[in-house]
């Protein structure tokens, strides 16, 4: 397919790999923020192709994985409310909360429907005017504008039975929180391509400026990731950390202004609870006052009960970049994609699922 195949060209990849080998002198640690990049890196064995001087770490960029149990429990409690239809992206179905999952409550009779888009969720609301349709709003800046668009559409059409449980998260603030914690030492960051398609490359400026971290916004094909690593090596060898875009066909420095406008019209920043990281100020999105009637949390009186964490699961540490899935005793035995203990094994972009599917080296 166009814009995919060209960026899988093995010959060009070889050249970029050679260049990285030649240019890389000092030992550096790079984090790929995004779970999508983790998949590309593991699937194509990119780690093994890099010189020993380049160490790669996976970051917290998987929206399903970073959703805290307390929030999952809210979604599951909402599914149990009489008359409610839950509309959710498929990734969320199997994620275990404290006591259950959306899949389990569905088996017990709850009306949980998997949708591909908020457009489908709106359609369910139109077709079921007597029921309340709650969309489980997870995702980063990539997805939030599409959810904002659905709220605006519902407002315009006067759809009264559409609600959003907003568990959206923002990426730059969590990177800042990770850097402030001092727990992981990083030299460079492979910045998320599709988050940056919306917000642009500028919001990463703080990392280069205040923390001396080299930043390159990357696409998701193997050649994209290799090019980004080469650019990071170049920046670090020169000792000039800055923000660059490798994924120029998809990302402009200013981002998608229209999408930002819609997102800002409907949502405002709020504290958000990240699994393993905790509450990070201004790292989430809640509905603005004008749109609060769409807020599922305010519209339903739910009591999910106290939160329980999965025993032995290291997802939190993995999301902070301080452990890897192979450090987990449950990995591949008690925890598999069929019987996941934690969310990092559920989501196709979770580190544990990626390690499971594409090998653990």
């Amino acid at each position: 397919m166009r814009f995919i195949d060209e960026f899988r060209n093995a010959e060009l990849a070889r050249v970029v790999i050679d260049r990285i080998h030649r240019r890389s002198k000092r030992h550096i640690r790079l984090m790929e923020f995004c779970g999508g990049h983790t998949v590309t890196i593991l699937k194509h064995g990119i780690r093994q192709l890099l010189p020993p001087t380049v160490e790669m770490l996976s970051g917290p960029g998987c929206p399903v994985c970073v959703t805290a149990n307390a929030d999952l429990d809210k979604a599951i409690a909402l599914a149990r409310e009489p008359g409610v239809i839950i509309a959710t992206f498929g990734d969320m179905l199997k994620v275990p909360g404290s006591y259950s999952s959306l899949q389990k409550v569905r088996a017990d009779g709850a009306d949980v429907r998997v949708v591909y888009s908020t457009l489908d969720a709106l359609q369910i609301a139109r077709e079921n005017p007597e029921r309340a349709v709650v969309f489980i709003g997870i995702g980063f800046e990539t997805t939030a504008p599409t959810i904002a668009a659905s709220v605006l559409q519902a407002e315009e059409e006067g759809i009264k039975n559409y609600y959003v449980l907003s568990m959206h998260k923002l990426c730059p603030p969590v990177i800042k929180a990770l850097l402030n914690s001092g727990e992981v030492r990083l030299d460079g960051l492979i910045c998320p391509g599709h988050v940056s398609a919306i917000i642009g490359s500028r919001p990463w400026g703080f990392a280069a400026r205040d923390y001396g971290i080299a930043c390159v916004v990357s696409g998701f094909e193997p050649l994209d990731v290799l090019q980004s690593v080469a650019m990071l090596v170049e920046q670090l060898e020169k000792g000039e950390p800055k923000v660059e875009i490798a994924y120029r066909r998809g990302v402009r420095p200013e981002g998608n202004l229209r999408a930002q406008e819609l997102m800002n019209a409907v949502f405002e920043p709020s504290p958000a609870n990240w699994r393993g990281i905790g509450v990070v100020p201004e790292s989430g999105l809640r509905l603005r006052k004008e749109y609060q009637r769409f807020d599922a949390e305010l519209s339903f009186d739910i009591d999910p009960g106290p939160t329980l964490e999965p025993k032995g699961c290291l997802c939190g540490d993995i999301l902070r970049g301080v452990k890897t899935p192979i450090d987990c005793e449950l990995f591949g035995d008690a925890c598999t994609p069929e019987h996941p203990v934690g969310p990092c094994m559920v989501s196709s972009e979770g580190s544990c699922a990626s390690y499971y599917h594409y090998g653990t080296l």
Binding site: M1, R2, F3, I4, E6, F7, E11, L12, V15, V16, D18, R19, C34, G35, G36, G61, C62, P63, V64, F89, D91, Y116, S117, T118, L119, D120, I138, G139, F140, T142, T143, P145, T146, A149, P192, G193, H194, V195, A197, I198, F220, L223, Q227, A246, R248, R249, G250, V251, R252, N256, R258, A259, L262, S347, E349
Partner: protein, 73 residues
């Protein structure tokens, strides 16, 4: 979760567009990319075009890498 794939815009009607994606036709929302034209490729994410792909930039990136290849070769 943030997956977005290139799709070719075949026709446009208001806020909707018909796109082709690996031989399959599908209706998407172009609310987030009002500038899109027929013949453009967009990045498609959960039913919405989140950006128009810049073909020129794509070509330049590939040229840059090819140049690197000839230099190294």
């Amino acid at each position: 979760m943030c997956l977005a794939i290139p799709a070719l815009v075949k026709s446009i009607e208001g806020n909707e567009a018909e796109v082709e994606l690996g031989g399959i036709s599908r209706k998407i929302s172009i609310l987030l990319t009002p500038e899109v034209k027929v013949g453009d490729y967009v990045l498609l994410h959960t039913g919405y075009a989140i950006n128009v792909i810049d073909e020129e930039e794509a070509m330049e990136t590939l040229e840059l890498l090819t140049e690197m290849a000839s230099m190294e070769g």
